[in-house]
């Protein structure tokens, strides 16, 4: 089971480059695709989901170019787009039955699986009610259920936890972890904590290019010994932000506790901390921006 992305580019009308020679090779496990807004994550997701054609490069599913044989991948694909609609007059069961038929699933198996999936996404009680009355979070859960309908070998989920409450979000993360075994799961998000919880592999994308790809441990190792906690008065915070990369702040009785990513301790009294993936993510992006700025000056 192998999904290869080779030099994939996508240029939209008006010469807008969403992806530039993006390459990645994926096997079973959860890939967390991280990147800021507009980095090209959703474009890459749509290309992998056979919705959009790349303008350059190719995607191979078990050696088959999906440009010429998209159904090879579609047969085993589960896809939860970032934005999707529903048919408001259908109930959750009817909607899933319709999509099961579109996906070519045999009736009895589909019926059983729909019941199980609705239990799984906690919608069994609302299964017979029209989708038009569902809240955003409930619709998102229907979306998750439809992505799993055909027992996919490749599961692509684009910003799946948006609209979910914290409890549902944790349930979904756990579900992804459990599903990951013998599947390729691609989780695209800008919520680092979602990736931190489930990803076995991380790819960081910015301005349409792959910045870094590796295990979470490798990303964390890159900022090991470079994360500090500094306590400063509120009025000194702007100066601290100007001089250093501050990944988070919290107001306490003794001042503002700032989490700083820096090669050396920003203040003599700074306390070293264990790095998180968010620290690594921000540090990597900041380093990239600095490099780009330096290249622009040259």
């Amino acid at each position: 089971m192998k999904l290869e992305i080779e030099n994939v580019s996508k240029t939209y009308r008006g010469n807008v480059e969403a992806l530039r020679k993006f390459s990645l090779e994926l096997g079973p496990g959860v890939l967390g695709l991280l990147g800021p807004n507009g980095a090209g994550k959703s474009t890459l997701m749509r290309i992998l989901a056979t919705i959009t054609q790349p303008t350059g490069g190719w995607v191979l599913w078990n050696g088959t170019n999906i440009r010429y044989a998209p159904d090879k991948l579609r047969n085993v694909l589960g896809y939860l787009p970032q934005d999707f609609g529903i048919y408001p007059n259908l109930s959750a069961v009817e909607f899933l039955e319709y999509l099961a038929a579109v996906k070519g699933l045999e009736a009895a198996s589909a019926h059983k699986r729909i019941g199980e999936l609705l239990e799984l996404v906690n919608l069994a009680d609302a299964a017979r009610r029209p989708l038009g009355g569902f809240s955003g979070g409930m619709r998102q859960r229907v979306g998750i259920a439809q992505a799993l309908l055909n027992d996919p070998e490749v599961l692509i989920v684009d910003e799946p936890t948006a609209g979910l409450d914290p409890e549902e979000r944790v349930r979904f993360r756990n579900l992804l972890s459990e599903l990951a075994g013998e599947r390729i799961v691609i989780l695209s998000t800008h919520i680092v904590s979602d990736v931190e919880a489930v990803a076995t592999d991380i790819a960081l994308i910015a301005q349409g290019q792959l910045v870094v790809h590796g295990a979470p441990e490798a990303l964390l190792a890159a900022v090991s010994g470079k994360v500090w906690e500094v306590v400063v008065p509120s009025h000194e915070l702007p100066a601290l932000r100007r001089d250093h990369l501050v990944s988070s702040t919290a107001h306490r009785n003794d001042g503002v506790h700032a989490r700083v990513v820096a090669d050396a301790a920003p203040r003599p009294e700074a306390r070293a901390l264990e790095p998180t993936l968010e620290d690594a993510y921000l540090a990597t992006l900041a380093a990239r921006r600095q490099r780009a700025a330096a290249e622009a000056v040259v």
Partner: protein, 532 residues
Amino acid sequence: MKARRVVYAIARADFLERVRRYSYLITLLFAVYLGYAAGTGRISLRLGDYRGLYTSAWIGAMVSMVATTFLSLVGFYIVKNAVDRDRQTRVGEILAATPLTKVPYLVGKFLSNFAVLVSMVGVLALAAVAMQFLAAEDRTFHAWALLSPFLFLTLPAMAMTAAMALLFETFRFLRGSFGNVLWFFLWSFGISLPVVTGLPQLDPSGLWTVYQSMAPAARAGIPGYVDKFSLTNADKAVRVATGFHWSGVEWTAEIVILRLAWMAVAFALVLCGAWFFDRFDPARSRRKPVARPRSEGAATAAGTAPEFPTARLPITTSSHITPLASGARHSGAWRLLIAELRLALKGYRWWWYAVAGGLLIAQLAAPLDVARGPLLAAAWIWPILVWSALGTREARFGTEQLIFSCARILPRQFPAAWMAGIIVAVLTGLGAAVRLALAGQHAGLLAWAAGALFIPSLALALGVWSGTSKFFEGLYTAMWYIGPMNRVPGLDFTGSASGPQASRHALLYLGGAAILVAAAFLRRARQLHGTY
């Protein structure tokens, strides 16, 4: 001053958003086609079997009548999306959270609607000027005689069209497909209003005004003239009335005031719309809007989409999903066909089925001519909204990405959706088919079958290509009214008006259906290849 700036800003933004879309070019091309059709005599103004010499006055009156008549019908469908666009793009919710009130918002949208229609009228006015020089029947160019009908006749009619489109958008039940169908009948009624009411003042289109001006000159200059006046297609030869001398409508104060009054009526309709406009508040709609998940959150927060109580399961649940057996991935096509049919018919109330059933029984019970004539016509207009969803449902409800990422959409889902449309046509018109079969009218049966295939094919093609149901709803209603209802042979796709030509017409409709389905197939194939 501030209100004027707000109105201008809304009108400008809406107009720019529209004219920068590819579809605007198509609307201008439609205007060019109308100009071409008028210039080449495919559509002409007639006084019985005659037409006037192509003077500035005649051409101005004729082309402005073409613009008034056709643009008030088609233009309605073109501009009836000003508020809907803000609803779909969520810009409406942003605007609703500002101090902007309903009247300036709707006036701005009205001006944008009007500007789009005026730009099309402008194309036709230019075509009229070119027509006089190309026809060269009268080389004396009178700018006022040629252009004043556009000013006094067409522009008020366009204002009415722009206002009606906006008014329809402010009523929830007129916003969608029902409103699109209803407009055709309202438009027909509006054209014939002076004749129906006997009040020449009730003439929003201005056709009656032109007729009243021309008729005396026609009586004086055309031998045997009997008050015939029509704007029609070139289906029979026309002669130039050399003795007919008409220098154009004399724009008396009374006529000008009457025409300007329609502008005032249009403005009053916009203000009336403001009264009913929900200002993007979903709570004011009886049903909740169809929206995508991300934005639903806002609606939920506002308390408009109550979350059903669902039992909480432990966070650390285990995913007990039975793996699919390999054979479970290949179901028969019939299952998808049933799913498509169920989707097509879902959401209709009991009385919809009762009317369809009643029409079916009536076809079986009534005399054959009635069964295959008015009853079949009624049976085949009733499911118009079922057919108009063909090919557009995915775009309308935002399910394209879910559907198009599934395997074998073209060989399975596409024909299943088309077949579902055919089944609806067959079931609703079955009574007439049975009667034709029992009477041994094979040509009639063939015509019936051609109609049953043609309707969903037309719906599918227009839906897939346009991405909206409006075009089918407008075009099909017009075809239905002209063909089956007014029994115009050739345009009657049920075949009841075709007489001995039934088989020939049936074959033409079958050929048309094949071309339409092929066109829809090609477009859907392109969409699936991600080139849309």
